[in-house]
């Protein structure tokens, strides 16, 4: 297990390197640059700016410099935010994005699993049909449509919640629900399917044959097995949620990592783009590692050698 962990952690290095290389290449392949304006800057100005930020050097030197600095925790400078480095900028966005992501994740679990369970336990009942219906709806509505819809209802019509910004709990409610809708729908569907599958297993009959109460059969024998597939999809969902949503953060004007990334792309802010992409890759890799470890904890058949 320790060996496995070490190997997985070491694998992070080539993965992040590859991500950095691909991002860097794509960034420079895309036409346009950070100094493009409505009204073109004087060639001398551009040249000076390029020299200042080291953009006049050959690309492989630029890439090498970036890697060397990144290794020491410095993700470089942002052209749009002059006062702080990219590391500081991302660190200021991270708590907001992570708070929102974690809340949305728990919402998705707390909504998805009970509805999935209820649907499976009462298969072909009204509860089941309603759960499947809403799961399909929320799995199909894009986040920005749902976000705008609830914004119209709760902000424009009812005046209950602010349309955006960051500061107190009220700011969190709409974006976290908008973010949670899709994963909740997803989790509900997987929970339902997995419960139905487990409920007809022989070992559930064995448990009943022992005389166990239905509650124990459900909690001890069915649920633990049924939640294994749910975990498989919940892990990547968590990685996706805590690394921020470009759309929801923009829609609700939340100054998180997702919004910074979008700003960076529009401004061709090379430093910010590289920084946020690497942050995403790192977050996804770490969460996947945690999920894989949890897997072995929940399912004794999985052992890492």
């Amino acid at each position: 297990m320790h060996k496995y962990l070490l190997r997985r952690i070491l694998w992070l290095v080539p993965v992040l390197l590859a991500v950095a290389f691909i991002t860097f290449s794509l960034m420079h392949l895309v036409p346009g640059g950070p100094w493009d304006r409505e009204k073109a800057l004087a060639p001398q100005v551009v040249e000076n700016l390029n020299r200042k930020y080291g953009l006049d050097k050959p690309l492989f030197v630029q890439f090498g410099n970036f890697l060397w600095n990144a290794l020491r925790g410095d993700l470089g400078v942002s052209y749009s935010f002059q006062d702080r480095g990219v590391t500081q900028i991302l660190l200021s966005g991270l708590p907001k994005t992570a708070t929102l992501g974690v809340i949305a994740f728990f919402l998705a679990i707390l909504i998805g699993i009970p509805f999935g369970m209820a649907a499976a336990l009462k298969q072909n009942s009204a509860v089941d049909y309603a759960s499947v219906f809403f799961a399909t709806i929320f799995a199909s509505i894009p986040g920005f449509v749902l976000g705008i819809l609830i914004m119209i209802i709760f902000s424009v019509v009812l005046h209950l919640l602010p349309t955006g910004g960051w500061g107190n709990v009220k700011h969190l409610i709409m974006p976290s629900f908008a973010l949670a809708a899709l994963p909740a729908a997803y989790i509900a569907r997987i929970t339902r399917a997995s419960m139905l599958e487990v409920m007809r297993q022989d070992y559930v009959r064995t448990a009943r044959a022992k005389g166990l109460a239905e509650r124990i059969v459900l909690l001890r024998h069915i649920l633990r097995n049924a939640l294994i597939p749910v975990m498989t999809i919940a892990g990547p969902e968590l990685a996706f949620l805590i690394s921020g949503s470009f759309i929801i953060e923009n829609l609700f004007s939340i100054p998180g990592v997702g919004r910074l990334f979008v700003q960076g792309v529009f401004a061709r802010d090379y430093g910010l783009i590289m920084g946020s992409i690497l942050f995403y890759a790192f977050a996804v890799a770490i969460v996947n590692l945690i999920v894989d470890i949890l897997y072995a904890v929940v399912d004794p058949r999985i052992r890492y050698e």
Binding site: R200, Q201, D202, Y203, R205, T206, A207, R208, A209, K210, G211, L212, A213, I216, R220, H221, R224, N225, I228, V298, D299, P300, R301
Partner: protein
Amino acid sequence: MTALLQVRNLSTYFHTQDGVVKAVDGVYYEVAKGETIALVGESGCGKTVSALSILRLIPEPPGKIVSGEVLFEGTDLLKLSQEEMRKVRGAEIAMIFQEPMTSLNPVLTIGRQISEALELHQQMTKQDAYKEALRLLELVGIPQAERRARDYPHQFSGGMRQRVMIAMAISCRPKLLIADEPTTAVDVTIQAQLLELVRGITRELGTSLILITHNLGVVARYARRVYVMYAGRIVEHGTAQAVYHDPQHPYTVGLLSSVPRLDEPRKTHLSTIEGQPPDLIFPPSGCPFHPRCAYAIPKCSKDRPELMEVEPAHYSACWVALQKPTPWKKIS
């Protein structure tokens, strides 16, 4: 002898899209205290469903016990509440299932799966139940029980899992044990060991045993009385001795002659029962066996025979068996 369990006119139907499957259709049998009976028949004849009906473990829907009585020590189990029924399951009547590979929960340790019933029915503390589970594992012949109890089912072979199932089933010293083809899924060499184990334990505890099998060799060795099932009904019933040597139903005759024998010449083809088991949604008219029966007379396709005492204490649901001597030859 007093009967521990009497199954009377039990019918269990399954409602499917194609129609009603009469999996068990008016079955009678009884088990005395400490007695071993065998329930014999082809796959799909209703043996397992009748056993699951005793414990009321039929998934409902699609299944439903539509009629009958299951008298256990005089109480009709079919009339008990769910709560009362749970006190019978595992404690008074326990079951060993056919599939050891899938009948154990993959995410719970072996020790835990045995101890949970003990905590429930014997009100043992967690520690005591676990200790008792270790003792049971040793009893069923699992070496290094202490270490193995912490293992999970996937770390056990099929035979070992079936031993665990046996340990689980006998843990609360039930009065009746139902073993549903306990050896079908394990190697031939292990089968005998497991059956000897079950026999030894049931004798020691004075437990009655219903042995469900399609292996007639097993029946002869372990059961005192035999019930032969066909198409959801009992077609013959008598002592193992009588059923073996003087079968009174052509279906039993067919079953017996399709057992491979060592004393026959090697080139002899194994005889089989012609045709397929009947459609349980639209069973044949009259005797359900008549389309496959070599001895059928016109009456067989018209009237369905009920169990009749054709010899002393030997029952058969066959019109032809009433003729003496029977047209089939005795088996030595």
